[in-house]
Structures are given as structure tokens and as C-alpha cells.
Point group: C2
Chain length 130, copies 2
């Protein structure tokens, strides 16, 4: 995912949260920071969510072990729920929100989100914030 495309996808998430009465913000490029850093953080008085967001033209989105473990670490320390957001741009415009525990591991110990997995285990945005 290119940086510009990634930024646009994250901004769409920010917009969805604000429209629904949550506050949300994107993280600054984590390039030179050595600490775990999610792409998006959102919250309301009752819940706090951190998100690793990916949009892809392929039918499978891979995430590295490091991306997922750092998301979980940040969430644990902050007191937030960790979620993986994936959008398959070639197929449809909706996001799927997955619990990291539901994502299949590859042989190399990375994570793979297929469309099938997303449809089976993923929540819609409306389900996520319910």
C-alpha cells in the first residue's frame, strides 16, 4: 500500500468515527519512532480502539508479526482494544474489522487476511462501534 493511499484510507476511517460521535486521530508516520504505534486511535467515553489499517487491490492482505504484536502491545498498555481494519478495493468499498486472534498465521508466522476470512470473521464498521 503506497503512503498516499494508506493516508487516504486512514482518513476515511477517521471520518467514519467522527460521523458516529466518536473522536479519532491518525498517528504520525512511525518511521523514526522506535515505539509501537497504531495507524488510528478512536474513542468515546465507553471504549477505546487502536487500529492497524490496510487497503489492498489483492484478494489477501498480509500483516507482519511485528505489525500485529506491536498493535497488541500498544493496546494492552493504553487500555484499548486492538483491531485490524482491511478493505479489499478491487471488490467493494467496505471495511472489515478483525480481532487479531481471528487472523490466520502463515508458515512464516506472519498474518494473512483473505476475503473469505474477512467475510467470515470480520465486523462491519457499524458492528464494531455497536
Amino acid at each position: 500500500m503506497s503512503k498516499i493511499k494508506g493516508t487516504r484510507a486512514e482518513r476515511e476511517l477517521i471520518h467514519l468515527f467522527w460521523k458516529s460521535g466518536w473522536s479519532a486521530m491518525r498517528a504520525a508516520g512511525s518511521g523514526s519512532i522506535r515505539y509501537p504505534c497504531p495507524d488510528v486511535i478512536a474513542g468515546n467515553a465507553a471504549r477505546h480502539i487502536v487500529i492497524e489499517a490496510k487497503s489492498t487491490k489483492e484478494v489477501c492482505q498480509y500483516l507482519t508479526e511485528k505489525e500485529v504484536s506491536e498493535l497488541i502491545e500498544f493496546a494492552h498498555i493504553f487500555g484499548a482494544e486492538p483491531w485490524i481494519a482491511v478493505r479489499f478495493d478491487s471488490l467493494e468499498q467496505r471495511w472489515y474489522f478483525l480481532n487479531p486472534e481471528d487472523i490466520a498465521r502463515t508458515e512464516a508466522q506472519n498474518y494473512a487476511v483473505t476475503i473469505k476470512l474477512a467475510k467470515g470473521k470480520g465486523l462491519s464498521f457499524e458492528e464494531l462501534i455497536k
Copy 2:
């Protein structure tokens, strides 16, 4: 405050929080986003804090009405505490953390943090996270 200098100051705050067992992240440049956005968000299981951070070589740091009101709005929706962090670089390297309610309003309805106000009303980082 230049963008590079602002980024460096915010990164120092991120480092202070992680060193103290909190998680923290910087917000992406809010330039093209129309929603309120603090500079830094930090949290642990018990508390969540959003920060507008300023470092200055002057003896007084001004903040606009918009900067402060948007910080408070974000904090309110997210369920976090709003704090203004100011560092007077010509004087010393420490940060002062101020409750927006303690900051004096100027005639133009903006906010002004003098060194005297910071020393009188501001918390140190250690006091902030206590």
C-alpha cells in the same frame, strides 16, 4: 514554533511517557483534516491524556482559542484529560503541564502562558503522571 522543532518536542514527550510505562503517540499533521486533533495522546489502563505541546524561546507562549477549544472537545468526546504542555527553551529543559482552565485569557480571547504562570500553576511530568 517550526514544524521540525515541534516534532522534536513532541517526540520527547512520547519518550517520557514510554519510559514511565505509558503508551503514547503523536498525531499526524492535522493540516488537511477538519476534525479536532491533539498533538499527543498518551494512556495507561487508568488514565488517558491528550496534549497540545508548545516549545518556545520567548517568555510567553500564546495559544489560540481554536487550539484550546478543539483540545477540550477532543478530550471530552474521547474520555481523556486535556493538558497544555509548554517548554521555555531559553530558560530550562523541563515541561510544564497546565490545565486549560488555569491559563489566562488575553483581551483577544486567546490564551497566554507566561513563565510565571507555568511555574505557579503548571505540573512537572512526574506530577502529571502521578
